[in-house]
Amino acid sequence: MTRTLEATTTAPAAPSVGTRLRTLLFGRSAAIIALLVIVWIIASVSVDNFNTPNTLYFLILDVFPVLLIALPMTFVIITGEIDLSVASMVGLSSVTIGALFQAGVPVPAAVAAALVVGIVGGAVNGFLVTALGLPSLAVTIGSLALYRGIAVGILGTTAVTGFPDVFTDLVKERLFGRGTAIPTVLIVFIVLAIIAIVILHFTGTGRSTYAIGLNKEASAFSGINAGRLKFWFFVATGTVSALAGVFWTLRYDSARGDNAMGLELVVVAAVLVGGVSIFGGRGSLVGVIAGVLVIGALRSALRLADVSSDVINVATGLLLVVSVIVPSIITAIQRLVQRRRAAAAAS
């Protein structure tokens, strides 16, 4: 009876095009894309050779591992967890390929084995975090040391090189022939990125991912199994990191235990710069991809400008700190303004 009362009076109206446009234009992802464009323009104008296909080609190859790992890392961080062991898994995957290749195993089989190692490594993290309820920060600092330790332990300081050209050329191939910008491997990323974007932004699983990060208890009351989802996200970071390890090994034709040392920090920095909240529940993949590219472009431009790689690290760190502080400052200002207004209204 009462429920059939005219709906129009009380039900909220559909958001106007203006509102949608505003969120689109002033949201976090938009800000980071704008930053990317600005960095790109400044670099093109002020740095010689920045805006050439070759630079872009190397830029993409350089950030490729970060691009890959940032995808599953985004899911992990949105659920309120973190995986610091990814770079170690790159190293372990690389060593797996190297050691097996050295023992005479054909490259495709070695690659498959490396991916299995990635799945297992991710599953171990996932098990410790979800089944035992341990804090992922501590667990993955442990597996960071463990996986890297196993990698370094197996190969020591030696490197395995001399992989067949078929494979090393494959990862360096350009999609549209000599002199063009797009490496063929980018297709791998594009496929994975589309899958990730669809899952995170257009499926129930994606909705659950955000829900877990925002309020674990309420999501349990909505029938969401946080443990299972997180477990698979850790498996995904392990697997994709192993894939990045395959790329790393073949690109540099070098399987070493210390490959990609410290890369976990670049990945986390890129995801956070891309607007994902370290507390979970917020962020988008478009922002993250833009975040990775901002860092990549910045590094590449500075390198071309003959700035040493160390100052580049300073820039990366500053970018990370600034990108997290600015929203904090904005909220603080908003709160201040609100308080002023309230005080003015009261008096």
Partner: protein
């Protein structure tokens, strides 16, 4: 008698005891392989000397972690103050050694102040901030040093003497680490503001509600952490006498590992600097023992990783068991009550 036994039982149950025992076990095993490990001319000295720098970083980390924060920049602070110390000697010949030391330490303090301000004023999680400053400080270090390095010949002998000399057979560096440890242990255990740190880490909301000066205390822990890392940097320069831009890199994880292994809960509120210090001693000793027992030292990091994971799994198992015991206790007391009532 029962008080003594229960105190003894409590002592046995403490994490510090088991870590100390583990250190002894490692030393005994290594010494069985090679008696020089503990008894050789340099053996005993190294036993004390090797852990000192990591001990400083570990107790620095512990103070921060107890408040439910983390400082990943400790290794970069160490690197920067180590290089700055060396650089002051080369660029400023005839500088009073003590002044250089003080300035080197104060640089660490200053870097800690920056961390502290960013975390406590801007209210951004320490993990993110110190990850950023880890990059920044290390980057500044590398940019400043380039590929150059400080060599022993650049340093005055009275400075390097700190790294090699000893007091009653105990290396100076160990003495410094012990003093820093003792001061901090006293502060955390017996000063009101030190106890605040535990309260903040145990329940940050309650601490705020209770009126504890949360932001000021957290800021303070980062200053302590920076200062201790600065001391560690100066000690590093004195001990190794060669300082490159990568001095101490990766030690941020060792410091977290030492604290966690020593029983400092990663989410704050519990743990002691004694545990963290012992954790550091264990890690350093294992590191040195591996080649002695015939394992390539490449495996050292794997051992560290296994220890960290083992320690947190152990913590969880013990916690779950304690919780179960408490529930049972409460059930039996409530059924007693029922019985009494009927």
């Amino acid at each position: 008698m029962s008080a003594t036994t229960s105190r003894l039982a409590a002592l046995v149950k403490r994490r510090e005891t088991s870590v100390a025992l583990a250190v002894i076990v490692v030393i005994v095993i290594a010494t069985l392989f090679n008696s020089n490990f503990a008894f050789g001319s340099d053996g005993f000295r190294n036993l004390l000397l090797t852990p000192s720098i990591l001990v400083l970083l570990a107790i620095a980390q512990a103070v921060v972690v107890i408040t439910r924060n983390i400082d990943l920049s400790v290794s970069a602070v160490l690197g920067l103050s180590a290089y700055a110390t060396g650089r002051m000697f080369t660029d400023w010949p005839g500088a009073p050694t003590i002044l250089v030391i003080v300035l080197g330490i104060l640089l660490g303090t200053g870097l800690g102040v920056i961390n502290g301000l960013l975390v406590s004023v801007a209210k951004v999680p320490a993990l993110v901030i110190t990850l950023g400053t880890l990059y920044i400080y290390r980057g500044i270090d590398i940019a400043w040093a380039g590929s150059t390095r400080i060599n022993a010949s650049d340093l005055p002998s009275d400075f390097t003497a700190i790294g090699t000399g000893s007091l009653f057979g105990i290396p100076w560096l160990t003495v410094i680490a012990l003093i820093a440890f003792a001061v901090l242990a006293y502060y955390l255990g017996y000063a009101r503001s030190g106890r605040d740190l535990y309260a903040i880490g145990s329940n940050p909301d309650a601490a705020e509600l209770y009126g504890l000066p949360v932001a000021r205390r957290v800021f303070g822990t980062f200053v302590i952490s920076g200062t201790l890392s600065g001391i560690a940097g100066v000690m590093y320069a004195a001990r190794y006498a060669t300082v490159s831009a990568t001095a101490g890199s990766g030690m941020e994880l060792d410091s977290v590992a030492a604290a966690v292994i020593g029983g400092v809960a990663i989410f704050g509120g519990s743990g002691t600097v004694l545990g963290a210090a012992l954790g550091a001693v264990l890690l350093s000793t294992i590191n040195r023992a591996l080649p002695t027992v015939g394992i390539q030292d490449f495996w050292q990091q794997a051992v560290v990783g296994a220890l960290i994971i083992g320690a947190i799994v152990l913590d969880r198992v013990l916690y779950t068991r304690a919780q179960r015991a408490l529930t049972k206790e409460r059930q039996s007391s409530s059924s007693e009550r029922e019985g009494a009532r009927s």
